[in-house]
C-alpha cells in the first residue's frame, strides 16, 4: 500500500494536468477577454441592454460595448437607411450628447443582420475618446450597439466587431431579436 501511493499520486497529477490543458485549449479566447458589467445608463424609452468591458491587456485599449434590441423600429422595408439613422438610433448619444462623426459610415453585417457602422469623436469632460455606433436591422426591429474606447477608432472598431462576432454574443443577439 505504501509503495503504490506515489504511483497513484503521479497518475492524479498527470490526469489533472491533461484536463487543465484540454480545458484551456477548448475555452473560447475572445469571450474570455470580455467581462459583463452593469448597464451604466439611466432609464430611457427602451429597456436596458447588456454592457461589456475589455481591458488594455486583452484589447490593446479600454473598450466598453453596450448593446440592446429596439423592438418596433418600424423601418421594416428600408432598414437602416443612412448615417443619420446611425446617429439617431445607435445609442452613441448615451455615451455623450456631444459626438461628431469621424467620417462617412460603412455597411456592416453582424449576426446575419445588415446595418451601418460609424466612428465618432466623443466630447468627454477630461479626455477625448472614440465611439463606435452600429445599427443593425432585422425585419421591423433594430439592434443598437454603441462602444467607446481610449484608443484610435480603427482599434476600437476592430475590437467591437470581433466581440460581436463571438458565438455567445451572436447567439444572444439572435435570440433577443426573436423576443426570447
Amino acid at each position: 500500500m505504501t509503495r503504490s501511493w506515489p504511483v497513484i499520486a503521479a497518475m492524479f497529477l498527470t490526469l489533472g494536468g491533461l484536463s487543465a490543458v484540454a480545458g484551456y485549449e477548448m475555452a473560447s479566447p475572445p469571450a474570455a477577454q470580455w467581462r459583463e458589467i452593469a448597464w451604466p445608463f439611466p432609464r430611457d424609452g427602451w429597456p436596458a441592454g447588456r454592457a461589456f468591458h475589455c481591458g488594455v491587456a486583452e484589447c490593446g485599449a479600454e473598450v466598453e460595448v453596450y448593446l440592446r434590441p429596439k423592438l418596433g423600429f418600424c423601418n421594416c422595408d428600408s432598414g437602416v437607411a443612412d448615417d443619420d439613422e446611425v446617429d439617431r438610433v445607435s445609442d452613441v448619444d448615451m455615451i455623450s450628447p456631444r459626438f461628431a462623426p469621424l467620417k462617412v459610415g460603412d455597411v456592416v453585417d453582424v449576426a446575419e443582420m445588415r446595418g451601418r457602422i460609424r466612428a465618432y469623436d466623443v466630447g468627454m469632460p477630461k479626455e477625448k475618446r472614440t465611439a463606435i455606433g452600429i445599427a443593425l436591422s432585422h425585419r421591423c426591429d433594430l439592434m443598437a450597439v454603441a462602444a467607446q474606447g481610449g484608443g484610435d477608432a480603427a482599434r476600437v472598431q476592430r475590437a467591437t466587431l470581433t466581440f460581436l462576432e463571438s458565438q455567445e454574443i451572436r447567439k444572444w443577439m439572435i435570440a433577443a431579436m426573436e423576443g426570447r
Partner: protein, 512 residues
C-alpha cells in the same frame, strides 16, 4: 402572490414551444394541485379571468361592443389599411377623404373593384351625405410600398374660395404621396380628381396641417439634408398651383451639419392661425418626445436659415415627455372655462393641450400609450394636469391581439364637440368618447369597438422565435363632422365605421 406565480410560470415555460393557452392551463393545473379552499377560490377567480380573456378575442360574426355609441354605416374602403379621415362639407354633399398606409405583405396592391386593377393604397373618396349608406366614389393610388413605406396616409382639404389665391370653384385636397412627396388635387368633382401640383424629393412625410384662411401649410417632411426623418417644411399654398417655400423648421440638432444627439422626430403640428398665433408641434411616438409651443408670427417671419439660434427663436416653450411616451396629436383648446375654478379670482379659464401618444407594439409590448392633458395657460411653464387610458382589464386588451393604447384624436374644431367631447382612437379598444369639459378630470362617456370582418388583417408577435398571430380591430384614426357623426378607420383593413352618440354621451354634446 398571483402575480408572483405568474412570473414563475412564465419563466418555466419561456423556452418551451408550448402555445400560450396551454401554458396558462398548465399553470392553472399547477395551482389546483396545491389544494385547499384558498387555492380553489383562486382557481375560480382565474377561470373567470381566463374565460373573459378567451371571450375577449374577437371572432367574425361577433357584434360590436358599444356604450353610448351606435354604428350608423360602414364602408370597407376596399380592405385598405387606413390612416387619416377628413370629412368635408362640399356644396350640399358630405365627402370623406381617407388616407391609406401602404399595402400588406399578403396583398401589396389590393384590387380596386371599380377599375378591376391592382392599385397601391392611396386615398379613398367616399360620399357620406347619407351616413347610413356611404358611397365609394374613387380611389387615387398612392406610392408603391408596404405599410408606412407606401400609400398616401395624410389628407387635408381646403375650399378654393377660402384660400387667398385659390380658384373659387375648386376644392383642394392636400395629401402625402408615400414617403416621397406632397400633392395637391382639385377634388371639386370628388369622383374625378385632377392633380394640381406636387412637392417632391423627400425622404419621408407624415401628418400635415393646412390653414385654409391663409394657405400656410406645415408639411411634415424629410428634407434630404436634415438629420431627422421628419421635420417641418413650411409652404405658402395660398395659390395651390404655385407653392412657395417659406422655410424649414425643426429642433436644434436636427438641422443639416449639426453633430451630437438628434432630438426625437416630428409627428405633427396644429396651428391656431393668425388669430391664435400659435403652432403646437408634437414630437415622438412612444419613446420620448415633446410638446413644443411656437409663436406662429416669429416662425413665419423670423430669420429662416436653419441655425440653432434661428430654430430656437420662435419657440415659446418645449415640454419634454417621459421617455416612455411620445406625442402623436397635440390638440389645442385655449380658453376653456373650468367649472371648479368659477369663483376663483384668477385662472377661471385655462388653455389646454390634449396630447395623444401612439402605441406601436402589439400585445402590450411597451409602456402604456395614453392621453394627457397639459395646462399651458402660463405658456412658458406647461404642466400635465390629468390623463386617461382605457382600463386594460375592462376588455383583456393585452390578450386580444394587435396594438392596445392610444393613437390619435379627432382634430375638428367644429362647435358640436370642441372643448366638450374628444374622441380617441385606441386600436383594439376601438373609439373612446371622453367628456373633457373639465380637463382636470376627463371622463369616458362612451365607446365603440367595431366587429372584425374577413378583411381584418392579422397582427403578430414573436414568441420563442416564431410568429404568433391574432386578428383584432385596430382603430387607427378618428374624425368628426359638423353634424356630429364620428368617423373611425381601421389600420388592419376593416374599413370605415360611421358612428353617432347615444344616451348620456349625446347629452354632453347637447345633441337632440
Amino acid at each position: 402572490m398571483v402575480a408572483c406565480q405568474e412570473r414563475v410560470f412564465r419563466r418555466r415555460y419561456r423556452r418551451a414551444s408550448v402555445p400560450h393557452s396551454q401554458r396558462r392551463l398548465a399553470w392553472e393545473f399547477g395551482v389546483v394541485r396545491m389544494g385547499g379552499r384558498v387555492t380553489a377560490a383562486c382557481c375560480t377567480f382565474l377561470l373567470v379571468l381566463l374565460a373573459n380573456g378567451a371571450s375577449a378575442q374577437q371572432k367574425i360574426g361577433d357584434p360590436p361592443e358599444a356604450s353610448n355609441m351606435r354604428l350608423v354605416g360602414t364602408s370597407d374602403l376596399q380592405a385598405r389599411s387606413a390612416y387619416q379621415p377628413t370629412i368635408h362639407h362640399q356644396g350640399d354633399r358630405w365627402i370623406a377623404y381617407i388616407g391609406h398606409h401602404g399595402g400588406t405583405d399578403d396583398i401589396p396592391d389590393p384590387v380596386n373593384p371599380m377599375t378591376g386593377k391592382a392599385e397601391p393604397n392611396g386615398t379613398s373618396i367616399v360620399d357620406v351625405t347619407d351616413p347610413a349608406h356611404p358611397k365609394y366614389l374613387r380611389h387615387i393610388p398612392g406610392q408603391e410600398g408596404k405599410y408606412e413605406s407606401g400609400g398616401a396616409q395624410m389628407v387635408r382639404i381646403c375650399d378654393g374660395k377660402d384660400l387667398p389665391k385659390g380658384d373659387r370653384n375648386a376644392v383642394y385636397m392636400l395629401r402625402t404621396f408615400g414617403s416621397e412627396a406632397h400633392e395637391i388635387w382639385n377634388v371639386a368633382d370628388p369622383a374625378n380628381p385632377v392633380l394640381v401640383t406636387r412637392i417632391g424629393g423627400l425622404k419621408d412625410t407624415h401628418k400635415n396641417f393646412w390653414e385654409c384662411e391663409t394657405g400656410i401649410a406645415f408639411l411634415v417632411s424629410g428634407a434630404p439634408d436634415w438629420r431627422t426623418r421628419r421635420m417641418t417644411q413650411i409652404y405658402d399654398l395660398s395659390d395651390p398651383a404655385q407653392p412657395k417655400k417659406i422655410r424649414d423648421f425643426g429642433l436644434p440638432g436636427q438641422e443639416p451639419g449639426a453633430t451630437g444627439a438628434v432630438p426625437t422626430e416630428l409627428h405633427g403640428p396644429i396651428s391656431t392661425g393668425p388669430q391664435g398665433n400659435r403652432v403646437y408641434f408634437g414630437y415622438g411616438t412612444n419613446k420620448g418626445g415633446f410638446l413644443q409651443i411656437v409663436d406662429r408670427d416669429k416662425l413665419l417671419n423670423g430669420p429662416k436659415e436653419p441655425t440653432p439660434d434661428n430654430l430656437k427663436f420662435p419657440e415659446i416653450a418645449r415640454m419634454p415627455l417621459s421617455a416612455m411616451n411620445g406625442a402623436h396629436t397635440v390638440f389645442p383648446m385655449p380658453g376653456m372655462p373650468i367649472a371648479e375654478f368659477a369663483r376663483d379670482k384668477d385662472g377661471k379659464s385655462r388653455d389646454i393641450v390634449m396630447i395623444v401618444d401612439e402605441a406601436i407594439q402589439n400585445e402590450c409590448g411597451e409602456a402604456r400609450q395614453m392621453v394627457w392633458f397639459a395646462d399651458v395657460t402660463t405658456e412658458a411653464r406647461p404642466m400635465m394636469i390629468s390623463n386617461y387610458t382605457v382600463p386594460e382589464a375592462s376588455g383583456a386588451f393585452c390578450e386580444r391581439g394587435g396594438r392596445f393604447g392610444s393613437h390619435s384624436s379627432n382634430e375638428s374644431m367644429a362647435p358640436v364637440y370642441y372643448k366638450k367631447l374628444a374622441f380617441i382612437a385606441f386600436f383594439n379598444a376601438g373609439v373612446r368618447a371622453l367628456d373633457i369639459r373639465d380637463p382636470y378630470h376627463p371622463r369616458e362617456v362612451g365607446y365603440f369597438i367595431p366587429s372584425i370582418t374577413a378583411a381584418t388583417d392579422r397582427r403578430c408577435v414573436t414568441v420563442d422565435g416564431k410568429d404568433r398571430c391574432k386578428v383584432a380591430i385596430q382603430t387607427n384614426n378618428v374624425e368628426t363632422d359638423e353634424r356630429g357623426y364620428i368617423y373611425a378607420v381601421d389600420r388592419a383593413n376593416t374599413g370605415l365605421h360611421i358612428l353617432e352618440l347615444t344616451g348620456a354621451a349625446r347629452a354632453v354634446a347637447g345633441l337632440p
